[in-house]
Symmetry: C2
Subunit: 203 residues, 2 copies
């Protein structure tokens, strides 16, 4: 992997950092250059424009989601284990507050997802597919899988996205909130599992 030259790597790392911290409109090419330890002219030598550089970063960030998606097919663990695994992985992923970055930029320019929308049209959402199968097999309750999908994502993502305000409203310091969040994924997993597993296990 990584057929990138050394300066390219440094630039992409710096750009990611600056774009995520300040957003597209707030990010400055000079700051990216400084962070990467090169001149602004060099920055433009490697990546023609701010927009081109941004697109690259955005695509890379989106691409990081892909490994997460495959959880539902690999291994033949039971669904409880898979769900717990997904939540933990998703949570770790979300820690690097890239999700705010994505939501922010997608709302600024919905065209950023145009390419991916076509992709989505063909193949069905793997989570939905997996849980619908579980329902057919009678392994979980019959609830709307879309709702389950939304609940799962909401419970994982929002506490990190909205951490600043949660801290304020719950009167928790950074340390306290972080400590609280250590157990959080497990709580979400247990909560969801408890709510969807089939109670009348008449065997």
């Amino acid at each position: 992997m990584s057929n990138l030259t050394d300066p390219e790597k440094k630039i992409l790392q710096a750009a990611k950092q600056v774009f995520e911290a300040y957003g597209y409109t707030g990010a400055r090419m000079q700051q990216i250059a400084d962070t990467a330890g090169i001149s602004k002219a060099s920055l433009h030598y490697y990546f023609r424009s701010k927009e081109k550089l941004f697109d690259r970063i955005f695509e890379e960030t989106m691409a990081e989601f892909i490994p997460l998606v495959s959880t539902w097919e690999e291994s033949d663990n039971n669904w409880e284990v898979k769900l717990s695994g997904f939540i933990t992985a998703f949570f770790t992923f979300l820690r690097r507050k890239s999700m705010l970055f994505i939501i922010q930029e997608v709302n600024r320019d919905p065209g950023l997802l145009a390419a991916r929308k076509k992709d989505g049209k063909t193949k069905k959402n793997r989570f939905i597919a997996y849980f619908e199968r579980l329902q057919l097999e009678g392994k979980i309750k019959h609830i709307d899988t879309r709702t389950l999908y939304i609940f799962l994502h909401s419970l994982c993502a929002y506490p990190i996205l909205n951490s600043v305000i949660f801290k304020m409203n719950l009167q928790l310091s950074d340390k306290e909130y972080e400590h609280y969040m250590q157990d959080y994924p497990t709580m979400v997993a247990e909560f969801l599992i408890e709510n969807i597993k089939n109670k009348n296990k008449s065997k």
Copy 2:
């Protein structure tokens, strides 16, 4: 109320619209002036600087939250009704995607909440207080109220914040998603109520 001159109202309305759509760094004073139908010089005549104008908008948006908070004290409905009412109201509030605006700006400049943090230190979160009381009265299960608070907010806010990506991943059109969302608050309410009400009602 409203001891504001006509141009002030127009400016605030325009500014809110532009700031929410583009964020602080992306918003342009010229565009705010255009939207308000006045010159840029006039804009500066009424609000000295971009930052001053922004602070005003931010404060106003935050202030809209306050009416929501009082739900837990008024009326003597039972908690199920109160919770349902809160969810519906919260959801309506969130529709005007101001929440993304707030999270975005708070992450850009955490100092925006400095004033409010002091406020929070004194009085206890009303939701927490109310539900802790319910627990003492044995009306609901004994679960961590902070977690309940986070679950509630996450389930309400995230589906709206992240609507663009949910639409993509669930392959729903704008109309379909909107239609789905009509029933959503009720689902959240039922789901939460079912999970926290005390089962062993030995009476």
